[in-house]
C-alpha cells in the first residue's frame, strides 16, 4: 500500500476529533485533522502536542514515539486532504443535517472504497448514512467519553452498511487499542442508554431529598463498585452534554427516564456545567478536585 496522504482523516478539531486523532497517531496511522476554521490549525496542533506530551510525562509514551506520532499528523482546513484516506471520520457537532451534508460533499472527493465513520453518540447512524450517498460504506463508531484507561468504542452498522465496511471499522477500533462492542442502531446504543437513565434517576433521587449528593455518590461507589459516583460522572461529562444527550434520547424514545430532571436545566441555565466550569453539582478547586465541606 503506497501512502502519500492521510490514511485516517478526521473532520472536526474539537475534543472528540482530537481524542480520536491521538489514538490513530499512536497506532501508527498517517492522520489528518480537518477543521473548516483555518484559525484553528495552530491551536489544534498545539493541543495534540500537549496530549502527547502528557503521555510522555506520565511514562506511557517514549519521547521518540511522541515525535514520530506528531510527524504523522497534518492539521488543515482543506477537505481535499481526505482524498486518499481509508477512513473518513466525522467528529463535528451533533446535528444530523450537518453530518449528512459533510459526508455527502466528501463522496466526490474520497476513494470509492473509503469507510465513512460517524462518531455520533446520540443520532441514528442509519439516518446519517441515508444522506451520504454511500450508505453501504457508512458505519458508526461511538468513542465513549470520559475514557479512563482503555477506550470503549461501540461499533454500529445501521441498516444499510455492508459487512465489509463494518468489519473494517471494527478492525480500526481494535488497532486503535480500544475495547469494541457491536450494537444495533438504537437510541443511546448500550452505554448511554444505561448511563443517562442511571444519572437521571440519581438526580431525581437527590431532587426528592432521598439522600445527599455525597451520600448517593458514596453509596454507588461502595455499594455497586462503580469507579465514579453519578454526580461526579455527570460533572466530568458536562451537564450541558448530559442534557443534550438525555433530550435526544427522550425525543426518540419518549421514555420518562430520559426526560431531563428540572435541576439539570436550572444548573445549565446558571452556567454550572460541571468540572470544566468549576462548578456543577459540586464545586471544584483550580486543580479539578471537589471542594469538600
Amino acid at each position: 500500500m503506497s501512502v502519500r496522504g492521510a490514511q485516517v482523516a478526521i473532520f472536526g478539531g474539537g475534543a472528540k476529533g482530537r481524542g480520536i486523532a491521538v489514538l490513530a497517531l499512536r497506532a501508527g496511522y498517517a492522520t489528518a485533522i480537518i477543521d473548516p476554521d483555518p484559525s484553528q490549525v495552530v491551536e489544534v496542533t498545539a493541543r495534540i502536542r500537549l496530549a502527547l506530551d502528557e503521555r510522555v510525562s506520565s511514562g506511557a509514551l517514549a519521547a521518540s514515539e511522541a515525535d514520530a506520532a506528531l510527524a504523522r499528523l497534518r492539521v488543515t482546513s482543506d477537505p481535499a486532504e481526505c482524498r486518499e484516506a481509508e477512513f473518513v471520520i466525522e467528529a463535528i457537532g451533533e446535528e444530523l443535517e450537518a453530518k449528512r451534508a459533510l459526508l455527502a460533499r466528501l463522496a466526490g472527493t474520497c476513494r470509492p472504497d473509503a469507510v465513512f465513520v460517524s462518531s455520533t453518540s446520540c443520532l441514528s447512524i442509519t439516518a446519517i448514512a441515508a444522506g451520504t450517498g454511500r450508505p453501504e460504506r457508512t458505519v458508526g463508531m461511538h468513542f465513549c467519553d470520559p475514557a479512563p484507561l482503555t477506550r470503549l468504542v461501540e461499533v454500529t452498522r445501521g441498516l444499510q452498511a455492508s459487512e465489509d465496511a463494518f468489519l473494517l471499522a471494527r478492525a480500526l477500533a481494535e488497532k486503535l487499542g480500544c475495547v469494541t462492542v457491536v450494537t444495533q442502531d438504537t437510541p443511546g446504543l448500550i452505554r448511554d442508554f444505561l448511563l443517562v437513565a442511571l444519572a437521571n434517576d440519581s438526580i431525581r433521587a437527590y431532587e426528592a431529598g432521598r439522600a445527599s449528593l455525597e451520600d448517593i455518590d458514596a453509596a454507588v461507589k461502595l455499594g455497586l463498585g462503580h469507579a465514579m459516583g453519578p454526580f461526579e460522572l455527570v460533572d466530568a461529562i458536562g451537564l450541558d452534554t448530559h442534557l443534550a444527550v438525555s433530550t435526544a434520547l427522550y425525543e426518540e424514545l419518549k421514555d420518562a427516564r430520559f426526560s431531563s430532571p428540572p435541576l439539570v436545566r436550572r444548573l445549565v441555565a446558571a452556567g454550572r456545567l460541571g468540572r470544566s466550569s468549576g462548578r456543577g453539582f459540586y464545586t471544584y478547586d483550580a486543580d479539578g478536585k471537589i471542594r469538600r465541606g
Binding site: 448500550i190 452505554r191 442511571l198 427516564r257
Partner: protein, 291 residues
C-alpha cells in the same frame, strides 16, 4: 442515648454471620441468635471459614481469631437481646415475619436499646410502628459480604430520632464502615438506582441489541463498573432480583421497577444464575460452593 457496647444480631445466614463477625472484630460483645442450633452452627462455620482464610493469607493471627470467636455468644433464646444496646435484625425478607419479631423484641430489649433492620426493600417505618419506641428504630443496610463491603446505608424512618441516627453512625464508623443516610423510601439509595438499571440492561439484552458478552463489556469498559449487568444478575441471583424489583414496584407503582419479561421467563425456567449453574451464562459446578 447510652453508649453501644453490646450488639445482638438476629438471624445467622450469610449476612447475619457477616455482621456478627464485623461487630466482634471491632471489639463489640455480640449475641448471635437464630431459631435452630443448626442455623447457629452454620453461622459459626461461615465466620470460622472466613477467619481461617485470613489466617492463611497472613492477615490474622490464631490468637486474634480466637478472641473474635469468643466475643460472640450463640443462642436460640431470644431473651439474649435483654442485654443489648443495639439489636440488628437480619431474618428473612418477609414483612410479617419481621413485624412479629420487632413486636417481641420491643418487649425483651432494654428501653434504651436501638432496634435496627437489615432489610433492603421493606419499609422501616412500618417495623417501627409495631414497637413502643419508633424513635429508636432504623434501618442498617449492610452489603454482601459484610466483612468486605465498606458501605452501610442507614435508613431513617419517619419517627427515628436524631440521637438514634447519631449513635448508629458512630457505631458504623467504629466497625469501619462508610455510612450514608437515606430516607425510608423504597430501595433507599443503592437498590433504588440499581434495580431500574439492571431491569433496563436485561430489557436491552432481551431486545437482541447485542450479545451478552458485548453488553457486559460495554458496561465494564465504558462505565467503569466492576461487572457487567448480566454477570452481576447471575451473581445476585435472578430470583432475588425479581423479588426485590417486585417489592419496590408494589410500593411505588413506578414502571422502572416492573420486572422485565426475560427475568420472569428465566426464573420460571429455573435459570437463577450461578447458584443453579445457569443464568445468562453457564457455570461449571465448583464442588466447593459450600452448603
Amino acid at each position: 442515648m447510652g453508649e453501644i457496647r453490646r450488639v445482638a444480631v438476629l438471624g445467622c445466614g450469610v449476612m447475619g454471620a457477616g455482621i456478627a463477625q464485623v461487630a466482634a472484630q471491632a471489639g463489640f460483645q455480640v449475641d448471635a441468635w437464630d431459631i435452630t442450633q443448626q442455623a447457629l452452627d452454620r453461622g459459626r462455620g461461615e465466620i470460622g471459614a472466613f477467619l481461617e482464610k485470613a489466617i492463611a493469607k497472613g492477615k490474622l493471627t490464631a490468637g486474634r481469631r480466637d478472641a473474635i470467636l469468643e466475643a460472640i455468644t450463640w443462642s436460640t433464646a431470644l431473651d439474649c437481646v435483654a442485654r443489648a444496646d443495639l439489636v440488628i435484625e437480619v431474618v428473612v425478607e418477609n414483612l410479617q415475619v419481621k413485624k412479629d419479631l420487632f413486636s417481641r423484641l420491643d418487649g425483651l430489649a432494654p428501653g434504651h436499646a436501638i432496634l435496627a433492620s437489615n432489610t433492603s426493600v421493606l419499609p422501616i417505618t412500618e417495623l417501627a410502628a409495631v414497637t413502643k419506641r419508633p424513635d429508636r428504630v432504623l434501618g442498617m443496610h449492610f452489603f454482601n459480604p459484610p466483612p468486605l463491603m465498606k458501605l452501610l446505608e442507614i435508613v431513617v424512618g419517619q419517627l427515628t430520632s436524631a440521637a438514634t441516627l447519631a449513635a448508629v453512625k458512630g457505631f458504623g464508623q467504629a466497625i469501619g464502615k462508610t455510612t450514608v443516610t437515606a430516607k425510608d423510601a423504597p430501595g433507599f439509595i443503592v437498590n433504588y438506582l440499581f434495580i431500574p438499571y439492571l431491569n433496563a440492561a436485561l430489557d436491552l439484552y432481551d431486545r437482541g441489541l447485542t450479545s451478552r458478552e458485548d453488553l457486559d463489556r460495554a458496561v465494564e469498559a465504558g462505565l467503569g463498573h466492576p461487572m457487567g449487568p448480566l454477570r452481576l444478575a447471575d451473581l445476585v441471583g435472578l430470583d432475588t432480583h425479581l423479588f426485590a424489583s417486585e417489592a419496590i414496584h408494589r410500593e411505588l407503582g413506578d414502571a422502572r421497577f416492573v420486572p422485565p419479561t426475560i427475568l420472569r421467563r428465566m426464573v420460571r425456567a429455573g435459570l437463577l444464575g450461578r447458584k443453579t449453574g445457569r443464568g445468562f451464562y453457564e457455570y461449571e459446578a465448583t464442588g466447593g460452593a459450600g452448603p
